[in-house]
Symmetry: C2
Subunit: 144 residues, 2 copies
Amino acid sequence: MDISEVARRSGVPASTLRFYEEKRLIASIGRRGLRRLFGPEVFERLGLIALGRAAGFSLAEIAGMFGPDGRPRIDRRMLTAKAEELDATIRQLRAMRDGLRHAAACRAPSHMQCPTFRRLLRAAASGELGGRSIDHQIDRKIPR
Amino acid sequence: MDISEVARRSGVPASTLRFYEEKRLIASIGRRGLRRLFGPEVFERLGLIALGRAAGFSLAEIAGMFGPDGRPRIDRRMLTAKAEELDATIRQLRAMRDGLRHAAACRAPSHMQCPTFRRLLRAAASGELGGRSIDHQIDRKIPR
DNA sequence: CTGCCACTTCAAGTCGACTTGAAGTCAAGG
DNA sequence: CCTTGACTTCAAGTCGACTTGAAGTGGCAG
């Protein structure tokens, strides 16, 4: 398969595939002239990468999860640690979601008069709510 | 108060305060010479900004939540929308967390042999799991 | 054999939220 | 009055994950 077919069948842009290869996240099985050739195993790799990304691992971390042999060598403690990280995030997001819903429904003249809102405010100021970057960017498939 | 006191009392670096002012997220009440002077109301503003950031709003969105009068004018529909976004994110994170925990515990010889892991893999590949950027960056107070 | 165009490389650009650095100003303590 | 150093501005740098653009190459249909 050449790069465009991998791109078409995986949904991952060719530029990203080249980028991933450069970062040693995927490997081509050879060249035809200049052109990369990929084997079907690349799809599993791309799946694992997508999974890792979705779990919140960086590309560098994901790169570390493959042995030089090519097979995944996944540290179970790392998975557990990430699961716990996610748990903490989930708790924060739940608090935030509930706070937002309350604020949306609250009939106090100003949000500043609402005790629930003020509690949330204090939590945010104290950094309890994770301070920065939760993201939950909604997936725009064609990013214009 | 000058900027260093606001920084000290809020925990927000002076560089960030200048940046926020430039982005019209906060306002100083005047100058003494060149130096900015802030009133105490800046702390409430900073709290609201922290809250908005924790909820996943961008600085631009947060800037839009204040009237030119300075007081928050928060659209309840926006709060509800964000709450629903958070809900979706929470569902994804829960699935991911459970998948990670299972993968960590699973005794299959390779993760590829584990049905649960494979299910997760398919979900990630299909984009169901939000594909990119969940972040949940743990807050490092002193970022070196 | 030729020409097209999908591929290639490499450097640079993008985005958001800041931080850092250089060069300059000036309020206040001695 | 003079020095000090905390402040100021403005430009540029950072980080991660890619994307974009320019310039070049070469596989293959005609």
